[in-house]
């Protein structure tokens, strides 16, 4: 492989220069704590007002085994986890063998010389700077005994701090936070390992990269950033939105959302319960939502499928509910630890009958926080279930984003019983507003909440006009909501040859592809859809301003090359220039790959075809 992290060939690059944007890939075994050192690097980047995005693979064996953690950090906007690494850290010979390919020409190979023997000629040919560090033996020296697995990662952190001129004070503080609550010796050992790594001489390499922390003039406040995974962001977003009850069943990669909420909600007087299965999960969440408590459930594909029948009830009974689906590779058990966007069809159509519901998708970690809040508000405003799509890539990667403004958290109606004169659960002349049970109704007519077709009071009705009216009422909510949505902003020129349409975790890659293409003089544009049902207004006019519209998604194509969203857009706007770029290898798009696919689809030569996908580990 001979391409850089942006998928462009590297034939003229000399000795690496100072960069303010670097991709570090750490390859070892998951037992080595590579994830925790990677996460610390990411947090550090966040604390230094840098942007950061991480990527990791999950080992094939149930616990442990070869794994990588990649950190892309920079002083500008980091939109992807990076195509190729600037620095590859190899703990073992297999790490070296499997990942050398992912290191760009002219990059740095930092390896544990206790375990790894690189082919120096090959490195030379690719102008890679070898940086041998006897990590295992030095760590044992410093910590004594079989510290082998315990301190090596922190030692590495010290080496990287030196290489990137990271702020050691901040790192020490971080270690204090991470290890401070454990036995005192743990922190001491960590600090010893850190200083050992920092002190180890790495020669020239020390001058390759420097991250400049922004200087703040007096009075100017530093931007505080949050650094977290997408799953954490959903959980905190839900708390911020006012969700106070949840019920679900564990499944990868959804589980961390519920684990986080299980631990956190009680502090807000709420609770999140683990139910016996997914059917019970959504039923319990619906029960609490009926009670007036803002509630949620969630799962990944298999669990969302199991919730189908109850989703149809939620639509019919008009109960507000947040339903999160952290997508993974399908169908069936599929590829549980890979990424795919193949649950869109299910999100749109889960459940029987005409059952209009809201579907939204997060574009990145920050979105998970903010968009979940919007989703919960929509659910309550329209008394409707909202399916919120995330995916394995967003769920597991770490990003930094500005500390949110908490001053205006939503104030949902909540479960407090009220007294009303009279109440219709299903009025035909306006949108249902759910009344919590416990509310006293002066005219003495208490409402039925039901999955049968019903009249305005919730009593069963098979009257043809009533079913027509109620069906239209449920549909009209989507129309009303759509009218309030903003037309997505165009990234790039407002009209032209090519509009890329994305949804979900592809946003960063698509934007970076547009930027790279622009640098080459190709005027691509992009929009990103967060609202998938209903669709925002203005799309048809927007699409008409471009010669070609390509919907980029990670799911399978139909005979026209269209993926799941592309088909929705074609059905809606019947514009034959809407096509698709799809992908079903369980991996996120790389920038070079996407540019090549665009070129293939359009004949534009933005860049030579990106490297082929040769194994799960060779690509983010």
């Amino acid at each position: 492989m001979t391409s850089t992290k942006d998928g462009l060939p590297h034939t003229t690059m000399a000795v690496p220069e100072t960069l303010n944007d670097a991709v570090v890939r750490i390859a070892g075994n998951s037992q080595d704590g590579i994830q925790s050192v990677g996460a610390m690097l990411a947090r550090l980047a966040g604390r230094s007002e840098m942007d950061v995005m991480t990527y990791m693979t999950i080992p094939a064996t149930i616990s442990g085994g070869p794994s990588i953690f990649q950190v892309h950090m920079g002083s500008g906007r980091v939109l992807s986890a990076g195509d190729a690494a600037d620095i590859l850290v190899a703990f073992y010979q297999h790490s070296y063998d499997d990942h050398l390919e992912s290191l760009r020409d002219g990059g740095v190979l930092l390896y544990d010389s206790t375990n790894v023997e690189p082919d120096l000629d090959a490195l030379r040919a690719r102008r890679i700077t070898p940086l041998p560090v006897p990590m295992t033996s030095l760590t044992i020296e410093i910590l004594g005994g079989t510290g082998k697995k315990k301190g090596k990662n922190i030692f590495l952190l010290g080496v990287l701090a030196q290489a990137f001129r990271l702020n050691m004070e901040k790192i020490r503080r971080l270690l204090g936070e991470v290890f401070g609550h454990k036995d005192e010796s743990v922190l001491r050992n960590a600090l010893l390992a850190l200083e050992g790594g920092y002190a180890y001489s790495i020669g020239d390499v020390a001058s390759f990269f420097t991250f400049e922390e922004p200087e703040h003039t007096e009075g100017e406040v530093a931007v505080t950033q949050l650094t977290m995974t997408g799953n954490q962001a959903i959980a905190y977003g839900a708390v911020a939105a006012g969700i106070r009850f949840g019920a679900a069943y564990p499944i990868t990669p959804w589980t961390e959302v519920m684990e986080q909420l299980r631990a956190d909600l009680p502090r807000y007087g709420g609770s999140f319960i683990q139910t016996e299965d997914e059917l019970a999960g959504i039923a319990a969440a619906l029960g609490a939502a009926y009670g007036g408590v803002p509630s949620m459930t969630g799962s990944s594909g298999p669990g969302l499928a199991l919730k189908s029948e109850a989703i149809s009830f939620a639509v019919m009974a008009e109960i507000p509910l947040l339903i999160v689906d952290v997508q993974r590779g399908g169908p069936s058990t599929g590829l549980p630890t890979n990424v795919e966007q193949s649950d869109l069809n299910l999100a749109l159509h889960a459940g029987h009958g005409d059952a209009p519901r809201v579907v939204m998708a997060a574009a990145d970690v920050e979105d998970c926080f903010h968009l979940v809040i919007e989703a919960v508000c929509i659910a309550h405003e329209y008394s409707v279930p909202v399916i919120f799509l995330s995916d394995q890539a967003i769920a597991t990667r770490i990003e930094a984003f500005p500390f949110p403004d908490l001053s205006c958290l939503p104030q949902l109606p909540g479960a407090k019983p009220v007294s009303v004169e009279s109440y219709k659960p299903y009025p035909l002349d306006r949108i249902t507003k759910h009344l919590p049970p416990g509310s006293r109704i002066a005219d003495g007519k208490y409402p039925n909440v039901t999955g049968l077709e019903h009249d305005e009071f919730g009593h069963p009705s098979a009257n043809p006009r009533m079913h027509m009216a109620m069906t239209a009422k449920r549909r009209a909510k989507m129309e009303a909501l759509a009218a309030t949505l903003p037309t997505p902003e165009v990234h790039g020129p407002d009209s032209g040859d090519l509009l890329l349409v994305g949804w979900g975790s592809t946003m960063g890659v698509i934007r970076e592809a547009v930027n790279r293409a622009a640098a080459k003089g190709l005027r691509y544009s992009a929009i990103h859809l967060r609202h998938l049902n209903p669709l925002p207004p203005g799309l048809e006019a927007l699409f008409r301003r471009f010669e070609r519209v390509l919907v980029v998604e990670m799911n399978d194509r139909d005979a026209n090359g269209c993926g799941q969203l592309a088909r929705v857009l074609r059905a809606q706007y019947v514009l034959p220039h809407i096509g698709g770029i799809t992908k079903t290898d369980g991996l996120s798009f790389r920038i070079g790959e996407l540019l090549a696919r665009i070129e293939e689809a359009t004949g534009n030569h933005a860049a030579p075809a990106g490297p082929n996908l040769s194994s799960a580990h060779a690509n983010p």
Binding site: Q225, S271, A283, A285, S439
Partner: protein, 303 residues
């Protein structure tokens, strides 16, 4: 979330007692003579007797003839989907301890499609009262075998007569950990009222298994428990210790129609209590500033 601790009576001012007229709703669509009428009448009586604030009662059901129940009683009510009302009611019970959720379902809903939820509600001891209106048949779908149909029962799915051993609901409930288990029959209204009242008073998962004859598809099925039809309504022995699980289990093994009364009544912490005490001093949504600082503090850890 409303906390039991902060629970205040919803309606403090004095009000006239709840009457049957208050509780009247749609005219039942059941077949004339169906046992379910009698269960409904006793439920009305129970609510009248207990005189709970009308708005605090939530009548819940799944799907089945029996599950039409909520339309026939004027309280907040939910007609959910088949087999899943127990987890629905669990969510309601946990998040609204100020309410009285009462579930009415059929034998198919309870023990066939919904069987697992029963076991898990039982072991978790969710504060919830459930009445299973057992007619030993699928009524609404017009006569298929139910998990309680006796061997030999001829249904549309067992035209030769059912051959499979039915489940023993009382046994199932006892062994899965329900803290209150009673048996009664719609043919004996006074006893039914007594059992329902005891179930309502129980703090925990309380189940009343109640024979309710389907005159349409399973007529005469409970005659053996009706003295005026030559049967015997055998009460639970006087000396039965309702806290003795093994004794209760042994009692379930008696031949049809078995004993009627309270089989088991034990005290165990409810899931409601366990879940309410997970955090010390939770902030309340009534205090948005406290919520905000709590959240801010959590997020600060991730900066």
């Amino acid at each position: 979330m409303v906390h039991a601790a902060n629970q205040t009576p919803i309606c403090a001012e004095p009000r006239p007692p709840l009457t049957r007229a208050d509780l009247k709703a749609d005219k039942p669509t059941w077949c004339p003579g169906c046992g379910d009428f009698s269960v409904l009448a006793i439920y009305h009586k129970l609510l009248e007797k207990k005189n709970l604030p009308q708005e605090s009662i939530v009548t819940l059901s799944g799907i089945g003839c029996s599950s039409r129940f909520p339309y026939f009683v004027n309280t907040h009510s939910v007609h959910f989907i088949h087999g899943r009302i127990l987890p629905f009611a669990t969510g309601l019970s946990l998040s609204r301890p100020d309410l009285h959720p009462i579930v009415f379902i059929g034998d198919g809903d309870a023990y066939s499609i919904g069987g697992n939820h029963f076991d898990h509600c039982a072991r978790k001891n969710v504060r919830l009262m459930v009445v299973v209106m057992d007619n030993q048949v699928y009524g609404l779908t017009k006569k298929q075998t139910s998990p309680t149909s006796p061997v030999g029962f001829r249904s549309k799915t067992d035209p030769w007569g059912s051959r499979v051993a039915p489940i023993n609901p009382t046994k199932k409930l006892i062994s899965s950990g329900a803290t209150f288990v009673a048996r009664t029959a719609a043919s004996n209204p006074n006893h039914m009222l007594e059992m329902m009242e005891a179930a309502l008073d129980h703090d925990g998962f309380s189940v009343v298994e109640c024979f309710s004859e389907c005159v349409q598809f399973n007529p005469g099925s409970f005659d053996a428990a009706v003295p005026r039809k030559g049967g015997a309504y055998e009460p639970v022995p006087e000396d039965h210790d309702v806290t003795d699980e093994e004794a209760a289990y042994a009692l379930t093994r008696d031949a049809f129609p078995g004993h009627f009364g309270v089989f088991l009544k034990v005290k165990r912490p409810t899931l409601n209590e366990m879940e309410a005490n997970l955090a010390e001093n939770p902030v309340s949504d009534g205090d948005p500033d406290a919520v905000r600082s709590q959240l801010e503090a959590s997020l600060r850890k991730l900066t």
